[in-house]
Amino acid sequence: MHSIFSRINNISAFLSSCTMALLACVALSSFLFTADPKGTLSISPVKVFPSKTNRYPRRIQEMGFVNFNISADLTPLFHWNTKQLFLYLEAEYQNAQGVNNTVVIWDRIVRRPEDAVINFVGKNKYAFREISSSFKKVPSSYYSLKYNVMPHVGVLTYGEAARTIEPVDFVWEEHV
């Protein structure tokens, strides 16, 4: 503390300790916000078409086409430490070989509370494929709308905003 350099050094050292403590408090404060908003999700029967993949041109790969309807108000998830929400629609099913599958078919990043009221009608963004290349022996699947709250500083948290209660069937269309 005898020279200007040592004073600056001392202040910056203590400031960094204080900032660490502050960031820890901010991270811990996220646990005080326990909003668990719910929405609704409806899915029409999933149409399946055979197609070919770029990776294995000779293998026939069935693709599922999902039309869905989401409405949810996720504004309660925004607080001072929320950087963004990662919203995703997931399909869950078990195939004939006993493999439990979860596949994300749609996602959206919500960065502002103004955008957190979701009313979306659409179809899947990512390919919905079966690992054995056919949905033939898969009876049906369940769908859920999940979210990941990403903080500025702290722990990532996950939650579920909506879920289909009834299983959704696969429907095969004649491929022309």
Binding site: T102, V103, Y126
Partner: protein, 219 residues
């Protein structure tokens, strides 16, 4: 500047120089101990990583810090953000899980060897990429547990914190010196064309030492 330092060393003698060396070594050793200790607790080779590219924007920007864990019993779910390392690739990649396939009985999956119950096949995608990561897997069809370095548990945005710029380290007799944050860069890697991979480096972060009280003005 150096004449002053040299004069100080001459006056203090050889033992003080040795003490400085020991002090310096203990600072480095304590940093390494914290790093390795964290690695043991979290069961991952690098518990704290720095994001190096923009493929996870706007979730993670360059320079953000991520805290990873990877317990042996860890299951990965869709939406989890994982850091994985493909054999042959030098740089780990941090991307979000898009698909999981949990094997519950012994099964033969086309293109793979027989999978045992408990095995998990994963597909990932960067939030800022349009397509999944299959091109980054260097011939693999799926990621497995053995490729995963860790799951992202915590995050510190670089926007919130005033970055500690390491000041010129001065080996003075006063113990006010602070250890600059040590960055161990794993390696440089040519940018794959078309896909933005989140390259990460390992950063050892050590807290500054508390300043000594009332330092005398003469060395």
């Amino acid at each position: 500047m150096f004449t002053e330092e040299l004069r100080a060393f001459r006056r203090l003698g050889f033992r003080h120089v040795l003490l400085q060396v020991l002090n310096f070594a203990s600072v480095i050793a304590s940093g390494l101990m914290i790093w390795k200790g964290l690695g043991l607790i979290t069961n991952t080779e690098s518990p704290i990583v720095v994001v190096l590219s923009g493929s996870m924007e706007p979730a993670f920007y360059r320079g953000d810090l991520l805290f990873l864990t990877n317990p042996a019993s860890e299951r990965y779910h869709t939406g989890d953000i994982t850091v994985y390392k493909i054999p042959g690739a030098d740089i780990p990649i941090v991307h979000r899980v898009l698909e999981t396939h949990d094997v519950s009985k012994t099964v033969k999956i086309p293109g793979l060897d027989t999978k045992q119950p408990g095995d998990q096949l994963l597909l990932t995608k960067g939030d800022n990429n349009y397509v999944d990561d299959i091109e980054l897997y260097q011939g693999l069809d799926w990621l497995e547990k053995k490729h995963i370095v860790g799951k992202v548990r915590g995050h510190r945005s670089h926007l919130v914190n005033i970055r500690q710029i390491p000041t010129l380290r001065r080996l003075r007799h006063d113990r006010d010196e602070r250890l600059p944050s040590v960055k161990i860069r794993i390696t440089r890697y040519p940018r794959p064309i078309g896909v933005n991979t989140a390259r990460i480096i390992v950063a050892v972060l050590t807290r500054p030492r508390p300043p000594s009280y009332l330092v005398s003005s003469s060395v």
